[in-house]
C-alpha cells in the first residue's frame, strides 16, 4: 500500500447530455467533488462512485440507456461494474 488515499473518477464531456448525469452523480454520491475544466467535467470520489440509471431517468423525465454513457465518457478510473441499472466505479472490491 502507498500512503495515497484511493480515489475513483469519471470524466465527462461538457454538454447537455451529461448535465443530468453529473447531477445524478452528485445526488447519489454526497462525497463526490466536481471539477469543471475547459470542455470537461471530472468527478472525483473517495473509493467509490455510483451512477444510477433511475436517478438520471428521474431528472430527465424519460427512459435512459446506461450504455449510452460511452458517447460522452472521456475517461475513468477504478474497477468498473456495470449492469442495466447502475455503473459502479470502485477500488477494493
Amino acid at each position: 500500500m502507498t500512503s495515497i488515499q484511493s480515489t475513483v473518477f469519471m470524466a465527462l464531456q461538457t454538454n447537455d447530455d451529461t448535465r443530468p448525469i453529473i447531477e445524478a452523480l452528485q445526488r447519489d454520491n454526497p462525497d463526490a467533488v466536481v471539477h469543471r475544466l475547459p470542455a470537461m467535467v471530472k468527478i472525483d470520489a473517495p473509493g467509490r462512485l455510483v451512477l444510477k440509471r433511475s436517478t438520471v431517468e428521474e431528472i430527465l423525465g424519460t427512459d435512459w440507456d446506461l450504455q449510452s454513457i460511452n458517447l460522452n465518457l472521456i475517461s475513468l478510473s477504478g474497477n468498473v461494474d456495470e449492469s442495466e441499472d447502475e455503473m459502479i466505479l470502485h477500488w477494493n472490491r
Partner: protein, 522 residues
C-alpha cells in the same frame, strides 16, 4: 431460418450479463488436428500460466452489436464537428498560431503510435485462445484504427494552412525525437503477449493517454481548437474502455496463478519507466507550447500518476504488487522535466519539424508560480540569457549531435535531480562495448534484455554513420542538411524559431495583425 432475437423463451430480454456471456463463451477455436500450444504458440513463452480463460470478463460487458451502435454514433458526432470546423475556418479561431506546434508534435509522434497499437491488438487477438479476450482485442484494434483515421481527417484542415504536417508517417520513421515514442511501440510489439498488455493497457492507456487526452485536450479546447478536442475526447472514450479492460486483464492474470505476480511486477517496472520517458514531450506541450495554459505538468503528474496510479497500486497490493520502481524519482523530476525538455528543443530546433520560441514575461510568471522551487532559481536565468543573445543577433544553437539513451532513445538532456547542474548519465559494459543511458531506470531495463536493446536504431549514430540520406538523393556531404532532407523537414519552413517563420507571417496576415505597428501586434 432461425430469426432468434435476444429474448428468452419466456419473452423476457436477456440481461447485459447474460447477453455478454452468450456472445463470448463457447466461441473459441478448439483445435482438432494440431495441439493448442502450437496454434497459440506465444502463450507459454513468458512463463505466465493461465488455467481458465472463462474467468476473463469485460466489465463493460460490451457485445459487438452495442459496440457498433455506439461507435457509429460517436463517429457521426465527431464528423459533424469536423464539417463545422472546416466550413467555418476553425483554424483561424485558435488562440495563437504557436498552438499548432503542439498538433505537429501530436500528429507526427502520437498518431502513428495509434496505428501501431492497431497492429499490436490485431496480433494479440490472434494469440489469446479465450473468446472474451479475443473479442476485446478485436474491438480495440478497430478503435485504434478509428483513432488514426479521425486524427488524419481532423489535422488535414491544419495541413492546408500550416507547415510541418505534410508527412507524418515518414517523419515518425526517421525524425530523431520521434524515435522515442516509436521505440516504445516497437519494444512493445516485439514482446510476448502478456508483456504487450502491460505495455499498452497499463503504461500507454492508464498513464500516457490520460495525460495526453485529458489535460492536453482540455487545453486544446481552451485554445479554441474545436476539432482536436473533439477527436481527442472521442478517442479517449475508447481508451477509458481499454484501460478498464487492461486492469481487468492484469487482475485476471494475477488471479490465475501465484507465480504470475513476479513477472507482472517486472513488466510494470519496465513499462512505467518506458511510458514515463515518452511523456517528456507531453510535459513541454502543457508548460511551454499551449499559448493559454490549463494545468502544469507537475499538477497533471500529481493527479494522473500519483493520485490515480497510487490508487491502482493500492488496489494491486493485495496480490503482492508494489508501486513501480523509480516512481519517486518521476515525482521529484516533475519540477524539472518540461524546462529541460523545452530547452533541448530550443537548442536543436534546426532539426525539428515544429517551431520553438522563448516564453514571454507572462509565460514566465506562470511558470514561476507553478514551479516555485525550481523555475526562478534554475530556468529563468537561462531563458533570460537566451533572450539577451537573441537581441544581440547571436541566437544560440547547439551544433553537435546529442548522445542518446540506448533504451528510451531520449538525448541525455536531463540532470541529476539532486543537482540540476550535472547531466544524468549512466553506463554499462556489455560484450566488450560501453552503452549509455539517461537514467537508472533505462540502464536497468537494458540490463534485463541487453540483446534486445543493443540492436536499437539510434538516430544520432545513424546520422554520423551516413545512413540518413534520402533514398535516391545525392548526399550533400553535410550530414545535417542530408538528415533534414531524410526527415522530410523543409529547411527554413518547418524548423527553427516561430518568430520569422512562414507560419507566423501567414498568421499575422490572416488575422490582419501585419498592418499594425509592431508593438500592438505583439
Amino acid at each position: 431460418m432461425n430469426t432468434q432475437d435476444t429474448r428468452r423463451p419466456s419473452g423476457k430480454k436477456l440481461s447485459l450479463k447474460e447477453k455478454y456471456a452468450q456472445m463470448t463463451r463457447g466461441l473459441g477455436w478448439d483445435t482438432t488436428y494440431e495441439p493448442m500450444d502450437k496454434v497459440f504458440d506465444q502463450l507459454g513463452l513468458e512463463g505466465i500460466k493461465i488455467h481458465d480463460w472463462d474467468k476473463w470478463e469485460d466489465p463493460f460487458r460490451l457485445t459487438m452489436d452495442a459496440y457498433w451502435k455506439y461507435q457509429a454514433e460517436k463517429e457521426r458526432k465527431l464528423y459533424a464537428v469536423l464539417d463545422a470546423f472546416q466550413q467555418n475556418n476553425g483554424h483561424l479561431n485558435i488562440s495563437d498560431a504557436r498552438y499548432v506546434n503542439t498538433l505537429k508534435l501530436f500528429f507526427t509522434g502520437i498518431t502513428p503510435a495509434e496505428y501501431n497499437a492497431h497492429r499490436l491488438f490485431s496480433m494479440l487477438g490472434r494469440q489469446f485462445p479465450g473468446p472474451g479476450a479475443a473479442i476485446a482485442c478485436q474491438m480495440q484494434a478497430v478503435d485504434e484504427l478509428r483513432h488514426v483515421q479521425t486524427q488524419i481527417h481532423c489535422i488535414s484542415q491544419y495541413n492546408k494552412y500550416f507547415n510541418g504536417l505534410h508527412d507524418h508517417t515518414v517523419m515518425n520513421d526517421r525524425l530523431w525525437y520521434l524515435s522515442v515514442p516509436k521505440s516504445f511501440f516497437e519494444d512493445a510489439i516485439s514482446s510476448g503477449p502478456f508483456e504487450q498488455i502491460i505495455a499498452i493497457s497499463f503504461a500507454l492507456e492508464y498513464l500516457l493517454t490520460n495525460l495526453v487526452f485529458m489535460p492536453f485536450m482540455s487545453g486544446a479546447a481552451y485554445n479554441g481548437d474545436m476539432a482536436t478536442v473533439t477527436f481527442g475526447f472521442s478517442s479517449q472514450s475508447d481508451e477509458a474502455r481499454h484501460m478498464t479492460l487492461g486492469l481487468e486483464c492484469i487482475k485476471f492474470v494475477l488471479e490465475q496463478d501465484p507465480g504470475n505476480a513476479a513477472i507482472i511486477q517486472r513488466y510494470l517496472d519496465k513499462w512505467f519507466w518506458r511510458g514515463y520517458k515518452v511523456l517528456g514531450l507531453v510535459s513541454m506541450m502543457l508548460d511551454y507550447m499551449l499559448p493559454k495554459k490549463v494545468m502544469s505538468w507537475k499538477e497533471a503528474w500529481d493527479i494522473y500518476f500519483v493520485q490515480n496510479g497510487g490508487s491502482l497500486f493500492n488496489d494491486l497490493s493485495r496480490y503482492g504488487l508494489r508501486m513501480p520502481k523509480y516512481w519517486e524519482q518521476s515525482v521529484a523530476e516533475a519540477e524539472h522535466l518540461s524546462h529541460q525538455t523545452w530547452n533541448a528543443f530550443y537548442n536543436f530546433s534546426g532539426a525539428a519539424a515544429f517551431h520553438v520560441w522563448l516564453p514571454s514575461d507572462e509565460d514566465m510568471a506562470w511558470l514561476a508560480e507553478k514551479y516555485p522551487n525550481t523555475f526562478d532559481q534554475h530556468y529563468r536565468p537561462r531563458i533570460e540569457h537566451y533572450r539577451k543573445l537573441q537581441a544581440e543577433g547571436k541566437r544560440y544553437y547547439n551544433p553537435s549531435l546529442p548522445m542518446l539513451c540506448q533504451t528510451c532513445q531520449t538525448p541525455l538532456i536531463f540532470t541529476e535531480m539532486d543537482d540540476p547542474t550535472r547531466t544524468s548519465h549512466r553506463q554499462l559494459e556489455h560484450d566488450g562495448d560501453t552503452y549509455h543511458f539517461c537514467s537508472d531506470g533505462c540502464r536497468d531495463i537494458f540490463a534485463g534484455q541487453p540483446d534486445k536493446y543493443v540492436s536499437a536504431w539510434l538516430p544520432a549514430h545513424q546520422i554520423l554513420q551516413g545512413n540518413c540520406v534520402e533514398p535516391g538523393a545525392e548526399a550533400a556531404g553535410d550530414p545535417g542538411a542530408d538528415a533534414l532532407r531524410y526527415f522530410h523537414v523543409v529547411a527554413g519552413q518547418d524548423n527553427l524559431d516561430y518568430e520569422g517563420s512562414p507560419d507566423e507571417a501567414n498568421w499575422l496576415r490572416w488575422k490582419g495583425l501585419d498592418k499594425m505597428p509592431p508593438a500592438a501586434a505583439a
